[in-house]
Structures are given as C-alpha cells and as structure tokens.
C-alpha cells in the first residue's frame, strides 16, 4: 500500500458491502470492483475456513 492509497477511504466489497483494507483479488486499495475475501472464496467455490469448535 502506498502513502497516497493509505489516505483514501477504505473500499467496500461490491458483493456484500463490508469495508475491506484492500481488494482480496488484486490487493489494491483503489479498485472499482473491490471484493472481500469471503465473497471471493464463494465465487470461486472454495471452502471457507471454519470456526474451531472448543469444548468448555
């Protein structure tokens, strides 16, 4: 991330609207089609890391 990019508003995912640090696909802060990691994984039909289940 450059200093110029850091001063900009963080992008939001075009699919779900969540604010992201940078686009999960191209890793740019300035991206017209910024997408979050979760939506990208869903688009690519990849499994999402599940939560760990802890007893107690």
């Amino acid at each position: 991330m450059t200093a110029g990019e850091a001063a900009l508003e963080p992008p939001t995912c075009i699919q779900c609207g969540v604010v992201v640090e940078c686009c999960a696909f191209c890793e740019r802060v300035v991206c017209a089609e910024a997408i979050c990691y979760r939506c990208l994984r869903i688009q690519f039909r990849e499994s999402l890391p599940g939560l760990h289940v802890h007893g107690g």
């Binding site: 890793e27 089609e33 688009q43 690519f44």
Partner: protein
C-alpha cells in the same frame, strides 16, 4: 489428503460433468520462474529479463509461496535481498478454480499474473492473464459451437 476440496485444490484428476472444463491449474505455467528470499534483486531482475518474464514467485525450499515480484517490484533496487523488495503474502488461487472466473477477474482487476498454489501453499504455477483469457475464450467458443450443433440436430 484431507477431503474433496483438497483433492481438487491439489490439481488431481477428477471425473464427472465438469471434469473437462479447463481450470487454473491446467493453464498456469509450471515453468514460472522462482527465487529465494536472500537473492539480490538485481540478479533476479537480470534472470527475469533474460528469460522474458515480468514476474517471479518467491518460494522456500518446499516451494511454499512467500511472496511475489511483479513488474513494479522487479524495477526496485539492486543489491537489496528479495525479502525487502517483494510483495509479501500475495493472493493465491487454487488449481480447481474455473478458468473463466479467474480470467474475468484478472481482466476486470487489471491483474497481469497470479500464483496458483495447493491448499498448503505450494506453488503449482503462475497464471498469466493472456493465457487465462485465451483459454476462457476458447472454452466459450467451444460451448457455443456445442450449443449450436445441439440446436441443429433438433
């Protein structure tokens, strides 16, 4: 092998209706150049120029991807180790992702290349945007031709 998705992610053979669809792992260049963290950038740059590549994947001894040098990183510095210049922890994609989807994203995001890795991070190859777009276009044309042939038979 942990499960079905890990099987696919390792780029292993599959069966069924979608088995012949080209995927990222089929199109990624297996001969993609790699370098190590401690190599000087000037040396790697010279090697990339001689080989005609504008990207290089930084790997460890197990071929686990640690970073990426795209054209902008390859232009920086001379004697600095790769570790100081590289783009650390780049986005990587699994070999089973359909090539049309990756091509679409690579074009829309203006991304020239992306590393394809197994789910444990080992490099499969480097996917170039022009390769992804070409194969995706061929795939679309083949599907259209099949569709038209099926319509003609009716």
């Amino acid at each position: 092998m942990d499960g079905e998705l890990d099987w696919l992610a390792a780029g292993l053979p599959t069966e069924g209706r979608n088995a012949d669809r080209p995927r990222a792992g089929d199109v990624a260049r297996r001969d993609a150049p790699t370098c190590r963290l401690d190599e000087p950038i000037g040396q790697v740059r010279a090697r990339m120029q001689a080989a005609g590549w504008d990207a290089c994947v930084v790997v460890n001894d197990e071929r686990v991807v640690l970073g990426l040098l795209r054209a902008e990183e390859l232009r920086r510095g001379q004697d600095e180790p790769i570790e100081q210049v590289m783009r650390p922890g780049p986005s990587t994609f699994r070999p089973h992702v359909p090539i049309e989807e990756l091509a679409h994203h690579m074009i829309h995001h203006d991304l020239p290349s992306s590393p394809v890795t197994t789910s444990d991070g080992r490099l499969v190859g480097l996917l170039r945007r022009e390769d992804a777009a070409r194969v995706a276009l061929e795939q679309t044309r083949a599907q259209q031709a099949d569709h038209e042939a099926a319509n003609d038979r009716r």
